[in-house]
């Protein structure tokens, strides 16, 4: 499933972009140094193939639903993991730009979840471990299933941790995992079946094509390097997570904190204090107009939050929002009108 900009915080989005960017740069360097000039058109056309094949749905027996190919695993088996990552990243980019899948900030997270994890983790560690070059048909099926399921489960855990670390939704890690894992287990099985069906077909029709990925010279240290880069990634994520967590406290925690703070320390309205408070209000990440728990009775004791919400500022927010939208619309209308007049004038 595609991660969306709307669920990301800037720190998580940038962090995932950094990780995917490093992986892409490394793969690009590897492709440039190893690939022959035949690889560029082959990668491009296989990307277009994945793009088209994702739209061929097949019926899943006994469920009435349908599935389609994901692509990362198949491309890894056909091209090798590094070219496969570049191809999947390009497919995801086109989907983000043209089909509104996810958005530009979430593209880093999507390349990581749907590209890096299946191509650089699930393929070398799971698929190749089960199906060495020249493996039997049943081994290819088993390897495709295991690698697709593990890749998609890792990807879904990626979506969950990125969403939870961003703190935009109220879902907890556990309940989001419970929601996502069964769905992705099912999608993984479907993807594994589709991949193995294609690989077996290719093996029957053009066995030479399957050898491309396996005969390319593989650097001896690749596995160790992979482990090292994963360890670095884990350390970076672990180091950054508490930082996200502290900048985005849980909504309830935050309002409790504010309520306690405001009740304990009535701040003077005038003088430097008042001025600083107003500056802080203006620059606050959390604007002060609509938080129920902040309302304090005149005697200084916190009152029950509901229904003593400051209705005035809420209404002001809604009215102001409507005016803003009207202004935005007006500006756009004026620009368009001016252009129409200009084009009519140039036509004359």
């Amino acid at each position: 499933m595609h991660m969306a900009d709307a669920l990301l915080s800037p720190a998580v989005g940038a962090g995932m972009w950094a990780l995917s960017g490093i992986a892409l740069m490394r793969s690009a360097r590897r492709v440039r140094s190893q690939a022959d000039d035949h690889t560029a058109p082959l990668m491009g056309v296989l990307g277009a193939f994945v793009f088209a094949a994702q739209m061929i749905n097949f019926a899943i027996p006994a469920t009435g639903s349908s599935g389609h190919l994901g692509g990362g695993l198949l491309l890894s088996a056909l091209l090798g993991p590094h070219p496969a990552l570049i191809v999947i990243a390009s497919v995801l980019t086109v989907q983000a730009l043209f089909f509104a899948d996810g958005g530009l900030l979430a593209l880093g997270a999507n390349i990581f979840n749907l590209g890096v994890l299946p191509c650089l983790v699930a393929y070398p560690l799971v698929y190749r471990a089960i199906a060495a070059p020249g493996a039997s048909n049943s081994r290819i099926v088993a390897a495709s299933l295991a690698a697709a399921v593990s890749g998609l489960l890792l990807g879904s855990l990626g979506v969950v941790s990125q969403t939870v670390a961003s703190g935009i939704t109220s879902l907890s890690f556990e309940s989001f995992v419970v929601l996502m894992v069964p769905i992705h287990l099912a999608i993984g099985i479907v993807e594994g079946l589709a991949t193995s069906a294609l690989l077996l077909f290719i093996r029957r029709a053009r066995p030479d094509l399957l050898d491309r990925a396996t005969t390319a010279p593989r650097p001896r240290t690749s596995f160790r390097r992979l482990l090292v880069s994963l360890a670095v990634a884990a350390a970076v994520t672990a180091g950054m997570l508490p930082w996200f967590a502290s900048t985005q406290p849980d909504g309830l925690e935050w309002s409790l904190e504010r309520a306690a703070g405001a009740a304990g320390l009535p701040t003077p309205e005038l003088g430097v204090h008042g001025w600083l408070a107003r500056v802080q209000e203006k620059t606050s990440v959390l604007p002060d107009y609509d938080f129920a728990a902040k309302v304090i009775a005149s005697d200084g004791s916190p009152e029950p939050a509901w229904p003593n919400v400051n209705a005035g500022t809420s209404v002001a927010g809604v009215i102001g929002g409507a005016i803003t939208l009207a202004l935005v619309w007006l500006i756009a209308w004026l620009i368009r009108r001016r252009q129409q007049i200009e084009s009519r004038r140039s036509a004359e």
């Binding site: 560029a40 056309v45 088209a52 509104a100």
Partner: protein, 269 residues
């Protein structure tokens, strides 16, 4: 039209929009890429309960769409089609976060609904700006801009190849599916038929790649795609980037709708 045909049509229409001569397409693609990225970061940097404070940011995609004379309906349709995931995840907020956050008259609104509205607004703004970006630059200009901004050539070449051959292979996939449906009474293929269908498409893809490769070698291809020099950076582009970034910062630090609302309801301090 089948799903494949719809997707190809969408690819083509968005790219075609960028081929017209409008104030938007006359901008350097690099300026649009950089400004759109800054825009996305600013949008997602708002607190989870921000709704009205985000609204002024709609000026960016809407102004660009107006400058580029982009049709509203297809863009809105794309937004609606892509909405489900953010909406599904966002819909848990009203279920889990029920503490009242603001009131309108007698109605108290739970924090979960406010953050849900914020998620949907973020979705519309970020995804809308991505659509406007591609409709304002087009795939070729965009790839050239990405290359000039330091993205590896392997990746930009891959994007261009993918885009070009999506139409070719998509067209083949579409006719294969039409043929299958005509012979199967409109049923979807099972897994066994799928292997054959997609497998044949894959074989055609390989053969096409071989032919393309030979044709490219015949034209002197040496592993690098070159494109004719695109637009050069002008003062207009600098103004575009700086002006919009200044606006984004203003909106980030001053809650304009709140201020407007207080001014009209007479609650200014």
């Amino acid at each position: 039209m089948s799903r494949i045909d719809v997707a190809l049509h969408d690819l083509r229409t968005l790219d075609d929009l960028a081929r017209r001569d409008t104030p938007l397409t006359r901008l350097d693609a690099r300026a649009q890429v950089v400004t759109t990225l800054v825009f996305c970061v600013v949008v997602v940097s708002f607190d989870r309960y921000s709704v009205s404070a985000l609204l002024p940011l709609a000026l960016y995609p809407i102004t660009l769409a107006a400058l580029g004379d982009l049709p509203a309906r297809p863009l809105l349709r794309k937004l609606a089609i892509a909405a489900p995931f953010a909406m599904l995840v966002g819909l848990f907020n009203p279920l889990l976060d029920r503490a009242p956050l603001l009131t309108l008259g007698e109605i108290a609104i739970a924090g979960g609904w406010v953050s849900f509205a914020s998620i949907m607004l973020r979705f519309a703004l970020t995804v809308g700006s991505a659509l406007v970006l591609i409709a304002g630059t087009g795939m070729h200009e965009l790839c050239a801009a990405l290359g000039r901004l330091g993205v590896p050539g392997v990746f930009t070449a891959q994007l261009l190849f993918l885009f070009r051959y999506s139409f070719v292979l998509g067209g083949e996939a579409s006719s294969m599916m039409t043929a299958y449906e005509l012979r199967s009474g409109g049923r979807r293929p099972g897994l066994k038929d799928y292997g054959g269908l997609a497998g044949h498409l894959l074989l055609r893809a390989f053969e096409r790649a071989q032919r393309i490769h030979l044709a490219m070698i015949a034209r002197g291809f040496d592993g690098e795609l070159r494109s004719a020099a695109s637009r050069s950076w002008t003062r207009r582009d600098t103004l575009f980037v700086l002006g919009w970034c200044a606006f984004f910062l203003l909106v980030r630090w001053v809650n304009i709708p709140q201020w407007l609302g207080q001014a009209t309801t007479g609650q200014l301090p």
